[in-house]
C-alpha cells in the first residue's frame, strides 16, 4: 500500500515554493500570511529549509530568499540534457562574435527550456536566464522551435495551450506572429525586432534531430546588429556558419539530441509558468 504523504513536509514544500517564486525576500510573518499557515509551522518550516540550504537569509537580514540547493537541483536537471553541454562552445563562439547573449532553448513537450546561456559582453541586463521555461510561441527564443513545427503540430499545440494556458492562446493567431513564422520558414531561422527593448534584435535558429524533428533553438539576443530602421535584419554569414556546422554535427551524433524526459508523452508535460508569462507579457 502506498504510504501517506507527510503533511508536515507538504507545509515545508509549500513554503519553499513561495519563497522561491517571490520577487523579493519574504519575512516569516509574510510567509505565514501568504500561506495561511500558523506562525509556529512557518517558523519550523523556514528553519528546516535553512538548515538544508534550500532557503537562506537575504544579505544577513531576517527575510528569506531561495538558497543554493534549488539552484544546484536546477543545474543538475539541465546538465542531464546532452545539448546543454555540447552546445556550450557554439554559444561561446556566437556570443564572442556578436557581443550578444547566446543561449539554447531545448524543447520539452510544448515548452522551451533555456538550458545553457553565455552572456555577451554587450549584455548588461542578463534577462535570458538559465532554467527559464516558456510556451513555444511566447518567447523570442522558443519561436525558433515554434516556427518550424508542422501545421499538424501547431494544431496539437493550440489544443494543449487552450486547455492548460488559456490566457496565452490568443497570441498564437496574432497576424504579426503569423508573418514572423512565414518569414522564418523562408529564411531558415527566426528573427524579430518587435518587442525587444533598447533597439536590439533577437534571432533563434532551429536545431533538428536525425528524423528532422525540431528539438531546440539557439537564440541570440542583445545589441547584436546595427540595423537600419524598416529593413529586415539578417544574420551575418559567419554566424550562420557556426549554427549550420553544429546542426551537421548533431545529425551525425544522435546521442546529443536525446531528452532525458523523452519517456513522458508530449501532452503530459504540463509546467507552471511564471506569473508574467501567464499574463502573456
Amino acid at each position: 500500500m502506498r504510504p501517506p504523504v507527510n503533511s508536515s513536509a507538504l507545509h515545508v514544500l509549500q513554503t519553499l515554493r513561495l519563497v522561491c517564486a517571490s520577487e523579493e525576500p519574504l519575512s516569516h510573518a509574510e510567509v505565514s500570511r501568504r500561506t495561511a499557515l500558523p506562525s509556529t509551522t512557518v517558523y519550523r518550516a523556514l528553519s528546516t529549509l535553512e538548515d538544508a540550504q534550500y532557503v537562506q537569509r537575504a544579505q544577513g537580514s531576517l527575510e528569506y530568499e531561495a538558497g543554493i540547493v534549488p539552484q544546484l537541483l536546477l543545474w543538475t536537471l539541465l546538465k542531464r540534457f546532452p545539448l546543454s553541454t555540447s552546445s556550450e562552445p557554439v554559444l561561446a563562439h556566437l556570443a564572442e562574435m556578436s557581443g550578444g547573449t547566446a543561449s539554447i532553448c531545448i524543447r520539452l513537450g510544448w515548452y522551451g527550456l533555456r538550458a545553457r546561456v553565455v552572456y555577451g559582453q554587450n549584455d548588461v541586463y542578463h534577462r535570458d536566464r538559465l532554467g527559464e521555461v516558456a510556451l513555444l510561441h511566447t518567447s523570442r527564443a522558443t519561436r525558433g522551435v515554434f516556427a518550424f513545427l508542422t501545421d499538424d503540430e501547431i494544431e496539437q499545440y493550440r489544443r494543449f495551450a487552450q486547455k492548460h494556458h488559456p490566457d496565452l492562446t490568443l497570441g498564437i493567431d496574432r497576424p504579426a506572429l503569423r508573418r514572423e513564422v512565414q518569414s522564418a520558414r523562408g529564411a531558415g531561422y527566426y528573427v524579430t525586432t518587435a518587442g525587444v527593448p533598447n533597439e536590439t534584435s533577437a534571432f533563434a535558429m532551429p536545431l533538428k534531430n536525425e528524423s528532422g524533428d525540431v528539438i531546440a533553438a539557439i537564440a541570440l539576443s542583445g545589441s547584436t546588429l546595427e540595423m537600419p530602421p524598416g529593413e529586415a535584419p539578417q544574420m551575418p554569414e559567419s554566424w550562420l556558419a557556426v549554427w549550420r556546422d553544429f546542426q551537421s554535427a548533431l545529425v551525425k551524433n544522435d546521442t546529443q539530441t536525446v531528452s532525458p524526459y523523452s519517456h513522458i508523452p508530449t501532452d503530459d508535460i504540463i509546467l507552471k509558468l511564471p506569473a508574467n508569462r501567464e499574463r502573456g507579457s
Binding site: 508536515s8 522561491c20 519550523r44 528546516t48 529549509l49 531561495a66 543554493i68 537541483l73 543538475t76
Partner: protein, 276 residues
C-alpha cells in the same frame, strides 16, 4: 505543550528533514536516477523512510518515476523553484559553506582563489583569531607557480599549457630571493597530481605552511582553489590529522562546482590572456 504533542512535532520534523535529504541526494546525479535501496544505503535511512520521502516528493512533482518505472529521477517541478528576478548564485557563494566548514575543522585561515590568466586572485577568506595568522588580502594575486593555491590550479592544466606558461614566465620568482626551476616545478606538479592537493612551505621565516585543493567548473576546467594554512609548528599536525576530512569536504564542494555553468569564463580567460 503536552509531551505527546512535542514528540509528534519532533517526529514530523525529522521526517521533513529526511524528505529534503532525499531530494538533495539528486544534486549532481547526472546519470539520472536512484532506486529506493540505493538511496537508503547512501543516506543511512531505512527503506521504509526513503519510500515515504519519495512518495511525498513524487506527489509534489519534485521526483518522478524514470522510464523503467522502478527508479526515481528529478521531476520537472524543480523548474518552478527558479526565479528570474533573483540574483544568480556566483562561485564565491557556492564556496562559502565549504570555507566555513574547513575553518570549523582546523581553526586556521582559509582562502578562496580563482584563476585569471597566469595568476590566481584571492576572492574570499575566513581569518583565524589565533596568533601568527596567514593574511591574504582580497584581490591579491599570485603567479601560478608560486604558492599552494596557485600550484593546485597549475597542476591540473593540460601539460602543453604548463610548458607554455613555464617558457613565458621563466625565471619563475617566488619571492625577492627565491626562484623555482622548471624541473622542480614539474616535480611538484607530479606530486600534486598524485596527492590531489598542493602543500607549500615558505622558505623564509616565519615558517608558514598551507595546503590547497583545486575545484573544477562545469566545463571540466580547473576554476580555482580553496586553501588553509598557518604557522608550521601548529599547522603540520592539524593538516596531517584532518587530511581525510578536508578531502571529503572538498570532494563535496566539487560535486557542486562541477555544476557551475561558468557563463563568463570564456571572456575572462580571454581578456586576462591579453593582460599577461
Amino acid at each position: 505543550m503536552a509531551r505527546a504533542q512535542r514528540d509528534s512535532d519532533r517526529d514530523q520534523n525529522k521526517a521533513t528533514t529526511r524528505v529534503l535529504a532525499v531530494l538533495s541526494a539528486f544534486v549532481s546525479k547526472l546519470d539520472g536516477n536512484y532506486g529506493v535501496t540505493e538511496l537508503s544505503e547512501k543516506l543511512g535511512m531505512t527503506k521504509n523512510m526513503v519510500y515515504r520521502a519519495v512518495t511525498t516528493l513524487t506527489d509534489q512533482g519534485f521526483l518522478i518515476r524514470d522510464a523503467s518505472g522502478t527508479r526515481y529521477e528529478l521531476g520537472l517541478r524543480i523548474l518552478e523553484l527558479q526565479n528570474a528576478s533573483t540574483r544568480e548564485p556566483d562561485l564565491r557563494g557556492l564556496c562559502v559553506p565549504t570555507m566555513q566548514e574547513i575553518y570549523k575543522l582546523t581553526g586556521e585561515t582559509v582562502s578562496l582563489s580563482v584563476r585569471r590568466g597566469d595568476n590566481v586572485v584571492f576572492i574570499d577568506g575566513v581569518e583565524t583569531h589565533r596568533p601568527g595568522t596567514w593574511r591574504n588580502q582580497i584581490g591579491d594575486y599570485r603567479p601560478l607557480h608560486s604558492v599552494a593555491s596557485s600550484r593546485a590550479v597549475l597542476a591540473f592544466l593540460p601539460d602543453a599549457e604548463i610548458d607554455d606558461y613555464i617558457a613565458r614566465k621563466s625565471p619563475m620568482k617566488i619571492s625577492t630571493t627565491e626562484e623555482v626551476s622548471a624541473g622542480d616545478l614539474w616535480n611538484a606538479i607530479r606530486q600534486i597530481r598524485v596527492q590531489g592537493f598542493a602543500r607549500y612551505q615558505r622558505a623564509a621565516r616565519p615558517r608558514m605552511v598551507s595546503v590547497a585543493f583545486p575545484f573544477w567548473n562545469s566545463n571540466g576546467r580547473v576554476e580555482g582553489a580553496i586553501a588553509v594554512g598557518g604557522p608550521q609548528d601548529r599547522f603540520d599536525e592539524v593538516a596531517t590529522r584532518l587530511l581525510p576530512q578536508l578531502q571529503h569536504v572538498v570532494a563535496e564542494l566539487n560535486e557542486r562546482t562541477r555544476l557551475y555553468p561558468a557563463a563568463f569564463s570564456f571572456f575572462l580567460e580571454d581578456s586576462s590572456r591579453g593582460a599577461r
